[in-house]
Symmetry: D2
Subunit: 344 residues, 4 copies
């Protein structure tokens, strides 16, 4: 019998309604390269959702492509990105941003978030023109790599700082759904669009086969963007594949609904862990749960469940990471908690 | 009523059996990033097809990605690619190869193919080290951008020349299916694997939603390849999406079957055009038909069919391009020929 | 006894007055990185010469650096350069422009020059956005790689075309001195500055140890330029080395004086060749002489002189290239002609 | 009256003997692009100095060029550099290494040096293939950015670690002279050549107008290196300019002699500061002195001398940096100490 995985939020393929939409729209001939009717409708849905009729929307197949294309399009060769030391572009994308020529200036973080103070310090440390790459774009993720979310107050402060210093604000939204569905969240997608210059909405982690939607809300960044999509390999001949999926995701708000399920499952896990007398290593804000468990308990749980040991802790304990998704089965969460309690 | 399109071979989405396979495999949890069971099986099928158990296979979502990743992985910064003046990487990929740092040395062609003589001349013209980029990789397409195919004799001559001069041979197989299904073809996929160092098999144009399979037959090129897939944005979290499709395509030889249909439809169009007393601008070897038609006839045909005018010719005639695919409906081909004959 | 070389215009080191200036200014402490008094004065001289007090001037050590830095600073990743098929950046700089990410679109030429018609055709051939890199910068050399020069009428036509199409005009001036000192020339440096957006004035080939002066006359291109100089390795700690040399070169117009000598020597060679009954392969406009000589005569001449055989011609003849410079010794020119006549 | 500068080691131009050598060798015609007699002799001297007749030597004009060319030539696109957080390539070269596509993995340091433990930790943190760039080259400076030097024991330990892990060891020798002339030093140039794979010897900071000599001791890295020199703009037409200078520098060991003077002057400053009752912020190992001085004293000293305030310290004190060079005038050092004592 195979084990149930809480490894990540992409262990299953697509939500059945997404597949159904692909089946329904499969036959009619359509224009290629994202000029099809479905892509156009999907983009219209997103523009409506963010209440910004002039925004440019581009659909691509992966988050790394979304980051490469967006950042590469915005920057001149001497311009650098500011990111936390946990930023996905810094530690999980094989140097993709450096590979297109840009330095990443790092700011330490403990909760995955950037703060105005951290940004100011990075600007100070990198001010010696022309010997230092010029900070030009701020990269944040919402939710962050640790599953934490930005509040309106926090994002506004960062946005204002960016405008004051002539920095562009870019939001990696691989887990944007999880962020917006968080209990703590007070941002709507329209707020992200207003406060950021460019951002993307992750589809892969919220039930698509693949697909991320890049949204350019700052009109000065929109020119010629599609050249970059093409040049970096992101322009699918059958762009409809992405269009159909995003249309289904945003047509009736399935986006937040699926993200909400993932967050609920994480809360259930989280509550069960605490109830069993174990400790969380961090507050559970979205769909990632970090718990500190005794090593023997971890070994036992791993007979029935798959999950990552995040870091070795002291005293025969380790921090584990449990990730839930739109597809997480509630009975498996219950089973996990039962197993955990039986170990205590 | 909308017009029927002979514009390209990606106007429809996926072959129904491909979609069915995605539906059937949707639910089970799988490892991410191409480590899933379906991708492993698909790669196994391809290795078997080329009779090269040691070949490395990597699945990516688009042809431009396949080209960027393959070429970028093989070359050092000072090394250049040789291509015909019609090469897709040269004229249809927005400078993607230059964007990762490599010069493309061009060789004139009339039929889309490279010849040993053309290659030798390019080597001669680019021999002044260190003032000229060093020719290192030969890029060809099979079928070519004009729909022509390489014969065994031709490909063998090029392969031997490459080995003699220390050049790598890379085959862009966006339309590999059409090539191998051509009447004139005498190559099998295993021959391509033996004669080339690295190549890719196009899935998008032969009935997948998206997907191309890069095959590395020269083992010295295999090391660390996956880093490049990831760095360029080609590593899908749900790699299974590509794995499932390629498995279905190669499980029972649907690959050649679908390509054969496309070629057959092109032959039918071709024959009809000739029978109607019109002239072909080039022999129809695969799924692209080039015909020289009077301009008024073109205008009339375009009331019911969509296709590209390829180039203006003399005497009120133009060359048009008609592309067929795995999805081309035979009745529409018949209707096109009827319409054509009624115009004569 | 070693042979006298007409191989190129950089076989000798520096004009004695340049060395003398380096000796005279060697001791005083100066600011580094081009902030020294000599660099400032040199830039002032150049600004005065071009009658453009707002122009930005940057000094770098080599022509390839000047091209990399200038082009890289102007372009976004999807933007391409237009050049003739003889362009130095295309055929003699090891793919340096592609190495920083940009495609070069080529236009055939016979005399080394671009024409409005050639440019228009290149624009037409590269108009399919977003599948083709976007033409954005026009690269020309004056004098060209064949030693020909642009007239005011020609350069004006190109400049107007550029402005009409939103193209930047960039002039590689490795042999700008030779161009401006040509009998046929009717341009002043100030005209170049007015008609081009950015250009450079070659120092190496007109008597400096090394050094080229990049001039940015279009103010929208000046921002942050020095970052690019530094990032590409062009910012010398002892920038004074370049400043002192350019100051000496432009202080009292030694620039044109030395270029004039080179051109005069070429004219003398040219006239001698014709007088001896041999044929020029091209009109001698600057400091390069192309002559068609019988192969036995070439062999005999090469006992006493070094020069390149440019191309094999028919009937036991070849085209040779003779290059003169600021340092060419008149007696050696006379000796060459004597030798030539004795061979007839 | 202008102030005397202890700002850096490139405030003066060249040592008079270097200029004299340029004057003496100015006239004879020579081959271009580093094929001249002087460059050949200079390379021979360096090979002899390092006792490695097979080493390849390439001369370039700036340290950033030396770093770009060396690192770019060694690495494939997915490979990364390891450097301390103080590394010159990381903080003072405008993202030059990222601009050619490579990530820099950082290791914290307090004294400017890398340790085996720091390297091992960096390898551990960057081991998740293919999601992280692959560590491949270790970048260290000797002397470091803080003026400290590596001992034989330290460098050997690093070198062995590199070989164990398949890492290349690259030494930035902008201040190699100062390092080898340090009292604490027990390395010869031949040791550097033996323990590193590739390194460069700084000429600019030890009395040349400009020039750094890249030495490739690992023969597998030597192939095609000159293409990279050319492609990055580092191949001077009059390569003799660098050849003549390095020949003079290494002909009779002026290299160490001049470096020794710089170090002696730093020791004199250092001793004077301590004798005056002030504190050093770091031990003075080479030609950089870091001292903690009261702010009013700094202000007073700056009436007669130029130097940088390195960091604000507590209690109305700051750390200042004083740099000496081959050109530092002993009377000025004496004057500085006198002034300092008069302030106490």
């Amino acid at each position: 019998m195979s084990r149930y995985a809480f490894l990540d939020d992409y262990s299953e393929a697509a939500h059945p309604r997404i597949l159904e939409a692909l089946v329904q729209t499969n036959q009619p001939q359509q224009k290629p390269y994202g000029q099809d009717d479905y892509s156009n409708l999907a983009k219209e849905c997103i523009r409506k959702e963010i209440a910004l009729p002039t925004a440019a929307v581009h659909l691509v197949a992966s988050g790394t492509l979304a980051n490469i294309i967006s950042i590469g399009s915005c920057l001149r060769p001497h311009e650098a990105v500011i990111s936390t030391t946990m930023g996905h572009i810094l530690v999980r994308e094989t140097g993709a941003i450096e590979a297109i020529g840009h330095k990443i200036i790092t700011v330490p973080t403990t909760d995955g978030k950037l703060t105005p103070q951290g940004i100011e310090e990075a600007l100070d440390r990198n001010a010696q023109a022309p010997h230092m790459a010029k900070p030009r774009l701020l990269y944040i993720s919402n939710a962050t790599e640790l599953g934490t979310v930005y509040t309106m107050v926090e994002l506004k402060a960062i946005s204002e700082l960016c405008r004051k210093h002539g920095l562009l604000l870019f939001v990696d939204g691989a887990r944007m759904g999880a962020a917006l569905a968080a209990a703590k969240n007070d941002l709507r997608l329209a707020d992200i669009a207003r406060l950021a210059d460019i951002f993307w909405i992750g589809g892969t982690k919220v039930g698509l086969l693949c697909g991320e939607a890049i949204v350019i809300s700052n009109p000065t960044l929109a020119d010629d963007f599609e050249y970059h999509v093409k040049q970096r390999g992101g322009l699918l001949a059958k762009g409809r594949v992405l269009g159909v999926q995003f249309l289904e995701l945003f047509r009736e708000n399935m986006f937040l609904e699926l993200a909400q399920h993932a967050n609920n499952m994480a809360q259930m896990l989280s509550a069960g862990i605490v109830k069993a007398g174990c400790t969380l290593a961090a507050e559970t804000e979205t769909n990632q749960v970090f718990a500190r468990l005794p090593n023997p308990m971890i070994a036992k749980l791993q007979h029935r469940f798959e999950f990552y040991t995040w870091e070795k802790a002291v005293d025969d304990q380790s921090v584990v990471r449990l990730v839930t998704s739109w597809a997480t089965v509630e009975q498996q969460v219950v089973a996990f908690i039962d197993e955990l309690q039986s170990c205590v």
